[in-house]
Every structure is written in C-alpha cells, then in structure tokens.
Point group: C2
Chain length 227, copies 2
C-alpha cells in the first residue's frame, strides 16, 4: 500500500489534497521495530512523531518505585507523540513496541519546514482536527440529551461523518461496548437495531452498517420522530 493511502487515514492528514499528501510522504521515514524495542524514553528530545502502520505500541511512565504505569496502547492507524512534538517539548513518557511493528516517523525539523513552505497544508490539518473536534462535541451533546434510539441514531451518523459521510461502514467498538456507551444493555440495543431494520432506516450485518434512509435517521437523532 502506498504511503499516501496510509496518511490519508490519519485524522490530522484527512483533509489534505493528493499533492499535499505527496509532500508529506516525502519526509516520512518507514521503520521496522522488533517486539520489545524502545522507540523513545521519557525526557528525550521530541525530535519527531510516529504513526503506527502495523503492530502496537505501549506508552508508559515508570513510578519512583520502578513500577511501569501504562498510559495508553496505540494500534494501526494511530499517531503518537504528536502532541509533545507539536508543542516543542520533550517526550513525556516511554514508548515501546509490543509486537514486531512498522512505524512511520515524521522528523520535526522537516515537518516545520513543510508548514513554512506551504501554510495551506497547516490550514488543512487544522481544518481536519477542528472538524473532528466539532463532531465529538456534537456527539457528546447528543448523548446527554436523548433517548436511547436517538443516541444510537446520533452515534451512527457520527460514525458515517467520521468516515467521510459514507453510507456503509463498520462499528468501531463491539456491540456490548456500544450498549454500555449509550447507557443501555445489549438486549435493548439489539431490539432497537431490529426496529431500525424493520423501518428500513439501516441494514445490519455483524459489525457492518448500511444507512438506507439518512433523513429518517436524522429525524430520529433530532427527536423529531420515534421508533
């Protein structure tokens, strides 16, 4: 798979044109790591950030008594260390690969030069992040105001938006987790899915969702109709 394809799936780069993706891909260095290898240590200079292409990376701190405290585990498609690098600070924790992994490394120096030479690239990255942040805020607002069917409708529309407003996509968490996230139990969630299917709002096949009637789903999300 070419580098551009990988980049276009990461939030900060989703809004870039093909030409801009090309420019970014030129500064990428493609790196292989063996299981257990350290990517960086706490306090190291933040010389660049990473995107995981395959494998997993754990980011952890070490407590005064030597205990490892895992802060996050990142998987394919996820960036890490971009916040300290963008901020111009040191790495705030250790990063270690948990499997044999392939990472894209973005050297900070080259990245700054890219933005200097091409401010519209920065503008597009800011657009992607602002967009995602607004989607998240809307989601949180929806979740706090609606009945469960409306929450589910909001969540499905959010996933569709997140994937570029497409009508066919996969749930990003297990149905049991989704139930919990929406404040209900799996049996209720499953009943709501059945009703949505019967009303031909969506078609469901395992984790695969197809939106059949977007307007109907929006009405449900906005509380203008009931299931």
């Amino acid at each position: 798979m070419d580098i551009r394809k990988h980049l276009s799936q990461v939030d900060i780069f989703t809004g870039l044109s093909l030409q801009q993706l090309d420019e970014v891909s030129r500064i990428v260095s493609d790196r292989e790591y063996k299981k257990g290898e350290l990517v960086f240590s706490e306090g190291d200079d933040g010389i660049g950030f990473y995107i995981i292409i395959s494998g997993r990376v754990k980011v952890y701190k070490v407590s005064p008594d030597g205990k490892e405290q895992i802060m996050h585990i990142f998987g394919p498609g996820q960036p890490f260390a971009e916040v300290p690098v963008f901020e111009g600070s040191r790495y705030p924790a250790y990063a270690e690969v948990m499997d044999n992994s392939r990472l894209f490394f973005f050297p900070k120096k080259d990245f700054i030069k890219l933005i200097h030479d091409n401010p519209s690239l920065a503008m597009n990255m800011l657009a992607s992040l602002s967009q995602r942040l607004k989607q998240f805020s809307n989601l949180i607002e929806s979740l706090s105001l609606k009945e469960v069917p409306g929450r589910l409708a909001s969540y499905l529309l959010y996933l569709s938006d997140k994937n570029g407003s497409i009508d066919e996509f996969e749930l990003d968490i297990a149905k049991s987790q989704l139930a919990s996230f929406l404040g209900t139990i799996p049996e209720t969630l499953s009943r709501i899915f059945t009703k949505m299917t019967n009303k031909e709002l969506v078609r469901i096949n395992g984790p695969q969702i197809v939106i059949l009637d977007r307007t109907g789903l929006e009405d449900l999300a906005e509380g203008e109709s009931k299931l």
Copy 2:
C-alpha cells in the same frame, strides 16, 4: 478584558505562548453586530472565521421550500466558520446573530501569512487540537468500558484536564444531563456523588467540583478500586 485573554480560552489557541497570542491578536478585528444581522450567507467566499465574545450566533441552511434549518447555535468563547476557512472553501451555510453580539473576525489572508511567518504557531495550534481530540477519545473509550462510578470519575478527570489539570472547576452540563450522559438516572448520580464525598475524593458545591484525592479518583476511573 484584553484580546489575548479571550483568545487563550479558545481550543485552537490554548497552547500558544503570550508572544504568539500577541501576534494573533494583531490580526483580529473586533466587531459589533445588531440582533438579526447576517454575518455571512451560504456560498459566500470563506474570507475569514469568527470567535464569539458575547451574544449568540445561529448557523442555518435554507431548504428548497424556504424553511430555515438550524444546524448549530454558538455562544461566547466558541469559534465558528473556522473549518471551511481552514479548508479554503466557501461558507456552507448562513450565520446570523441572535442577540446584539460582539465577534472577533480573523481574516484568512492575514492568518495564512501569520502561519507562513511563524510555523511554530501552527504547530502549537495543531498540538492543542490533537490534545483535545485525544482527551475526547479517551473519554469515549472510558465511557464504553466502565461502571457508572468509574465513568463519573473519568468524566471529572476529563473536565479537570480540559481546564488545564486544575483541581477546582465547574460541571459544564446540568447534573440531570450528566446523569443521562453517563447512562444513569439523577438519583443514582446523586448517590455516587455522596459516596465520593464521604470517601473524600471530591468536594461538591452545586456545579462546583473540587478534586481532593486525584490518585483515588484515577484508581476509580481505571477500575482499580470501587466506591
């Protein structure tokens, strides 16, 4: 209140240094609008974006049969139209002030020049947005995996983070909405708050929250302790 102070409270600018805030504040134009005045129309060139200092703005589309469809209402401290402006596209909707309002306008041209002359400003803005996006992702992940007390602990830690890791802050939504957001009812939420208070994890006074024992709250959020 000075312009920098207003800017520092907006997500995209939170990570900027005082000097960088100064640079941004130089391109701001401070504008007064009368209730009902149109800020821009759908299809207008995206010549700049806005932050609301006082008042409210409704963003809406007009359907083919002339009906107004409100997409969002923004209030003080919120930016609007930044996504189309960053993307370099036209305004996708109408914006109209709902009260007499004061807005900061950021001309796109000046903003691009600022980023070109000072790429670290763009880096810091990217850092703020990435940071907020990660906080949101963590929150959503937490909410889907935990029992209600753990969810509440996660939410309180999220609010603390969002406000700059401070120990004293206000809830950003009403308690009834918070209950619904956490997938429970107000009575249960109130019982959990009482238990948290008795265990001296937090002190609560209306919407005001004071974190007394951050480690205890983190253990609860991570499922390492129960209430």
